[in-house]
Every structure is written in C-alpha cells, then in structure tokens.
C-alpha cells in the first residue's frame, strides 16, 4: 500500500486532520488472564504487540513512561527533551565507561525509537555468522534469509525513505517505499571527501517520511520538515517511531497500553511458569494475570529484571556478552555555512568498509555523516577535547561551520563486559545496574583504522581543526539467543530455555552486534518472534 501512496503523492492535509486518530483503547482487568503481557513499547515490544493483538489475542503492554503527544509536548530543545531518556541512575564501570542518560535507553510509549536517529540499514548476510567467517564473536542461530521478509515488512509498514538502488548487502527484492530524504550540509561534505578518494556513498535509508503517508491506526503522517531534532523527539510524526506506527495499530487491534507502570517481578506456579506480572503504578503494587510474558525492556533493564528475580539464568548467561558498537566520530570546521540543526542528522552512508581486505580486525563498519544539535555538540567538545574557558567557547562558537562523520562498526563480546546488580539501591529501592565496558583489541584496531580514514576524508573535504571523539553507542547482548542452553538465554525464537512462557524480544537477544544500527533488526526479530509464538500456540 505504501508504494502506491508514494506514487500518488497525496497532498498535505491541514494540521488538525493529522492528529492521532484515537481509536478507543480496550481495557482489561488485572484479574483477566490475558494471553500475553509485553514489558516495554519500543522497537522490541511494539511490533510483536501489534502482531499478537492483530491475531486476536488479549495483550497488555506495560510501559514505565508516559504516552506523549509530540505536537503539544515536544520542544525543539535538548534539555527539556531529556524526558525521553531513561534517567534511573546506572553505574558505569570499565576502561571505557559508557555515558548513559541522554545517550541511549528511552522511556515513554515508543521507547528508544522516540529519540533514535532513524538510520535503518539492514544487516548483511555475513553479519549473522561472524564467528564462521573470522573465528571470533558468536554466530546467530538465525540467518539473513530468516529475517529478510521481516525487514521488508517493517520498512514498508513504518515508511523508510531510501535511495532507488542500494549498493551494499544482499540485493533488495523491492525498492525502499519512499524516495530518499534530501542531503544536508554534513552529507554534502562527506560526499565531497569520499568522492575525492574514490569511496562510494549513497543517500541513507532513514525511518522518516519523504512524503506524507496514511498510517493504519494512526492517520496521516506528514513528510519530514528537516527540523533536525530526531534525537530529541520528532514533533510531527514524520519519524517512524513506534508511537506513530506499531503502537496505534496495536491499539486498533485491541491491545491495552498501560503507562507509568514499572515492572518489578513475577508470580510463578509450581512448574515454574509465570502466572502474573507484578508492577508498580500510581503508588501501589499491582499484578496482571497472564499466560505468557514478553520482555522488551532493552539490553539493561531486561537482564536487570531477570537478575533481580533470579529467573531464566541457570546458564549464568543473563547480563553477560554485553556489547555496544564502535562509534568514533570525527569533527571538523569548514568555510561553508552548514547549520548542523537542519535535515535528518544521518543523511549519507557508505558501507564500503563493511569488509576491509587485509584488515587486522574482524568485521567492519559503515560510515555516516552527522548533523548535530547544539547542546550535544557543546558537551562533546567539553568532554572530548577537554578544553574550557575561552577555548571551549571559541570552539562551540563555530557550531554553524561544524560537521561530523562517524562509524558504526562491530564490537565483539568479551568476558569482562557485562551487567550486574550493585548493592546500591535506586529511588524505588531496587538494586542499580552496574555496567562494565572496555573496548577490546578488535574494537581498538577497527577504530584506529577508521579514525585515520575519517580524518583523511574530512581533510579532503576541506575541514580544519579536525578532532575525534570516541564513543560506543547502542546497548546489545546480555540475554543472547542460541541453540545451546548452556551458552545462551533464549532459543532462536526468543523463548527462554528454562521458562516455557517467557520470551525476550529486544536488543538483548543479539548474539553479535552486527555492523549496522540495531533498530530495524530489533523490529524484524520482534515480528519473527511473534510469528513463531503464534505458530507454537496454534499447533
């Protein structure tokens, strides 16, 4: 359907017609034994929620945060939009301690998709067997072919804008449903730098609309207005976060979303099956009876919940195999006026280095242009360049002439990178999670190669005052899927090896990081998990 819409280019409707169409939401009693409780409404929870509701099941989603109305509630302001980020304190340990807060996990209906950059390349077929290829890391029990139909379905349903032909990875069976978004200044500069070195580039696939689109269950979503604040929440529904895509569809199909409901535990019967989910809402403890549970709280809260309840962990693998991505950024200043607040932040891509001949590292990386919001830029200058006073102000005053590129590359699991419960308690009285992360040799080699390359690209593009900022984005692993119950937490269908009615669908099940941004794959795996669950249930 989306393809037809794209061809017809329906005209923009006045804003009053674009409001959430507001299907009445079904409400269950906590004493109803619902078919499934889904914990979390982001990229992991929302797709399967809509699938299960669509097949007629009684489903309730428990979401820790609020259900925002972006038109009214979202400002073009990073500081106030920190309400979209998970702010319960995490303790960050290890040689490359990660910054959390305004950096990764989300809260609110939509989860992290509320603030994701919407960069949605597919993983490559070889990403799923990195161990077979390089002898390090972990293979997936799934192949690209298992996920391909789901990639296609997600792209068409949520509305992905991308180039007519995509140069890398498995050949696409169909084009992206929407034409690519326009290139902003940073993208043009990356194009210029890469061209001079013979590195091919392409408009990137982005989960934001280049033309209006009628979203089932939601209504009209307008095209992107190039406001540039994707990472602080889209205010018009152009970005394909789950609150404007899978969630309204799920509500239309009869799912209930319970907001400000924080899950703390589970009730089990004598056989060990879960019979109810315990959560806090409105200052009181509640229990929702259910036949099945899907955990989609992300790669930190999902294992934290299992560890707190000593569940599904006889393998000892819960919280282990924690990964991020290698994500070094290189910044520079240019003569040209760039206005980094305009356009979708990552509008250009190159996957030319998905595999590097004669490399001294396993895996590879993609290159991405980056526009940046002012506070994010200023704080990165402060943290990364370690300058202050007049020097800091002078560097930040070049904001309008600043552009960046970054990589998004492989990160292997290491035994020293994991999540555990600290003795220190949070405001709810629950143990805070402590996250250990240190880049290993492979990550360091890959990053060193990429840093040299990016600095050369930026120099060729005309940048002055080039500097790099090393960071590790995304939270991956901690409850990995696998065929061997001794080395994994769930099977390839997302089902716990130990508790037959417990499933996990989020970035924690990834056995390897993949060399691309995770959101699209999380959504694809989520739909597959739902379908496998329905097959199981109906047989």
């Amino acid at each position: 359907m989306s393809r037809d819409l794209y061809k017809r280019r329906i005209p923009l409707l006045p804003i009053k017609h674009l409001m959430i169409t507001g299907n009445p939401m079904k409400i269950y009693s906590t004493n109803d034994i619902v078919d499934a409780v889904i914990i979390g409404t982001g990229a992991g929870g929302a797709p399967l929620l809509s699938r299960l509701a669509g097949s007629g099941l009684k489903v309730v989603a428990l979401e820790a945060g609020k259900h925002w109305n972006p038109r009214m509630d979202f400002a073009t302001d990073e500081h106030s939009q920190s309400k979209l980020f998970w702010m319960d304190e995490r303790l960050s340990a290890g040689g490359d301690a990660l910054a959390f807060g305004n950096n990764n996990s989300g809260i609110g209906v939509g989860g992290s998709t509320l603030h994701f950059t919407a960069y949605v390349p597919r993983a490559h077929p070889d990403d799923f067997h990195i161990n077979t290829e390089f002898g390090v890391g972990e293979d997936w029990p799934l192949s690209f072919a298992d996920l391909e139909p789901y990639y296609e379905e997600v792209e068409n349903f949520i509305g992905v804008s991308g180039p007519a032909e995509y140069a890398w990875g498995a050949k696409r069976k169909n084009r992206y449903p929407f034409a690519a978004l326009p290139l902003n200044g940073a993208a043009q500069l990356m194009q210029r730098g890469c061209e001079s070195m013979g590195i091919p580039t392409s408009a990137a696939p982005n989960a934001a609309l280049s033309a209006p689109y009628f979203q089932e269950g939601y209504g009209m979503r307008p095209a992107c207005t190039n406001r540039g604040y994707c990472q602080a929440g889209c205010n018009n529904g152009a970005k394909s976060s789950t609150d404007v895509t899978f969630i309204p569809l799920a509500i239309k199909y009869g799912a209930e979303i319970r907001t400000e409901s924080f899950v703390t535990g589970f009730e089990k019967d004598l056989s060990g099956k879960i019979t109810a989910v315990i959560y806090h809402a409105n200052g009181e403890e509640r229990r929702q009876k259910c036949n099945n549970v899907f955990l989609s709280a992300g790669a930190i809260e999902t294992p934290r919940l299992l560890l707190m309840n000593e569940l599904a962990n006889s393998s000892g693998q819960v919280g282990k195999n924690f990964m991020t991505h290698t994500g070094m950024q290189v910044w520079g200043q240019f003569e040209e006026d760039i206005r980094p607040y305009k356009g979708i932040p990552g509008s250009l891509i190159s996957e030319h280095y998905h595999r590097v001949r004669d490399a001294d590292f396993a895996g590879g990386f993609l290159l991405q242009s980056i526009g940046v919001m002012p506070v994010t830029f200023a704080t990165q200058v402060a943290r990364g360049r370690k300058i202050w006073g007049q020097a800091l102000k002078e560097c930040v005053s070049q904001y309008n002439h600043t552009a960046g590129i970054n990589i998004l590359g492989d990160c292997l699991p290491h035994s020293e990178n994991f999540i555990e419960l600290a003795d220190e308690k949070d405001q709810r009285g629950l143990p805070k999670p402590r996250i250990h992360f240190t880049n290993g040799t492979n990550e360091k080699r890959l990053t060193a190669y990429a840093e040299k390359l990016m600095k050369e690209i930026w120099s060729n593009a005309g940048a002055k005052d080039i500097w790099s900022f090393n960071r590790n984005p995304h939270l991956i692993g901690t409850c990995r899927m696998g065929n061997d119950p001794a080395r994994s937490v769930v099977d390839k269908n997302g089902r716990s090896h130990e508790i037959p009615n417990l499933f996990i669908a989020d970035n924690s099940v990834f056995p390897s990081s993949l060399s691309v941004n995770p959101a699209l794959t999380i959504m694809a795996v989520s739909l597959r998990t739902a379908d496998k669950f329905l097959e199981l249930k109906n047989n």
Binding site: D73, A97, N102, N226, G228, A378, V381, L392, N400
Partner: protein
C-alpha cells in the same frame, strides 16, 4: 570567534516561527531570576561554584546566564542525569565535596581562598584538578579529573541550553515552526541570522 546578533531568539517569541511548546520552554528558562540563596549548596560552597563557573564558561556581556543557580536547582531537585561513573560517589556528594576540594587545593597551593585569587591563579587550580593530581585531602577519595569533567559538562549543558547561549553560536533551531527547505551548504533562509 563567530558572532551572531543579540536578541535573534528573543525577537522570535512574538512571531509565528516558533512552536508553542518550544516558546514555553525557552520563556520559562529566561524568566528564572538569578539565584541569591542556594537550595542545595551551602552559601560558601555556592560562592565557589559561582567563581568556578565564571572561569569554565566566562561571560563578559551584560546578559548573564545563572549557571551556578541552575546547577544548584538541578541538584536540589535530584533530577539526575541517568548515570554516573562507578568510581564516583553519588552526584550530591561529589559536587559538595568537590567545592570543598577546590578550596583545599587553593589553600595548599596559594595559602588563600579560591575566591580571593586572581583569575590566572584560579585557572591553575582548575587545571590541576582537571589533570588529576591536585593538592588536598578531598582528592584522595574523589577522582579529581572525573569530578572536573562532570562539572564542566553539567555547566556546558546549562549554558548552551539557554537562549543566550544558543544565540551566541547562531543556533536558530528554535525557529521550528515552518521547517527548513534550504538545508544544503551555504543555503540560508531569511530567518537565519548571518554572522556579524
């Protein structure tokens, strides 16, 4: 240093180019009066914070962003920022002890309060803390360079979230109502400020 015209953002408030939600947030931030009596810090610690803020993000114009006051409010409200280095004590402890540490280092190096020192001396103290080996018993327990990094980042965030800070760098993203059509290199729209 690129400079942009003053009041570029303030002038948008009466017009049609800013969404209500953005306007509300910015107006609220502008309307907060400069804090005289701290809610979180003790008055002596607060005076040190004011002096440190002036060195980390110096402000020479007539318009001032009350960085110390805003940080005090944020600590008093226990908002938190979602994480901390495992090596660091809770934020409240860290900031309180850090102010004490600055005074200790000042006394150890110059036998005087931080407040009474000239700017160059104050900068020497801050640099010693940033580099991680300042004099003073506080720093045996509180990792000095991590404390410095967290303080600097917190103040930087407050500074550039403020309309004055945004104006200073020519950030017109707050003119968010019509969207942007000219987004390529050197493509400016009429409402975007030109560098002075």
């Amino acid at each position: 240093m690129t400079r942009y015209p003053e009041n570029t953002i303030i002038d948008l408030f009466g017009g049609e180019m800013m969404t209500e939600s953005t306007k509300n947030v910015l107006e609220e931030r502008l309307s907060v009066p400069e804090k005289q009596i701290p809610d979180f810090f003790s008055p002596p610690d607060f005076r040190i914070l004011v002096a440190v803020s002036n060195r980390l993000l110096p402000q020479d114009g007539a318009r001032k962003i009350d960085l110390a006051g805003m940080l005090d409010s944020s600590l008093a409200s226990k908002t938190g920022n979602g994480w901390r280095y495992d090596l660091m004590p809770p934020d409240e402890d860290s900031f309180r002890r850090g102010m004490n540490g600055i005074e200790e280092t000042s006394n150890a190096l110059f036998n005087a309060s931080f407040l009474s020192l000239p700017e160059t001396r104050q900068d020497e103290i801050l640099l010693a803390i940033q580099e991680g080996h300042p004099a003073g018993a506080t720093w045996n327990e509180l990792p000095a360079s991590l404390f410095f990094e967290e303080l600097l980042v917190a103040l930087t965030e407050l500074y550039y979230a403020h309309p004055f800070g945004r104006e200073e760098i020519g950030d017109l993203s707050v003119a968010d109502k019509p969207g942007w059509k000219h987004i390529g290199l050197n493509q400016l729209e009429l409402r975007e400020p030109r560098s002075l």
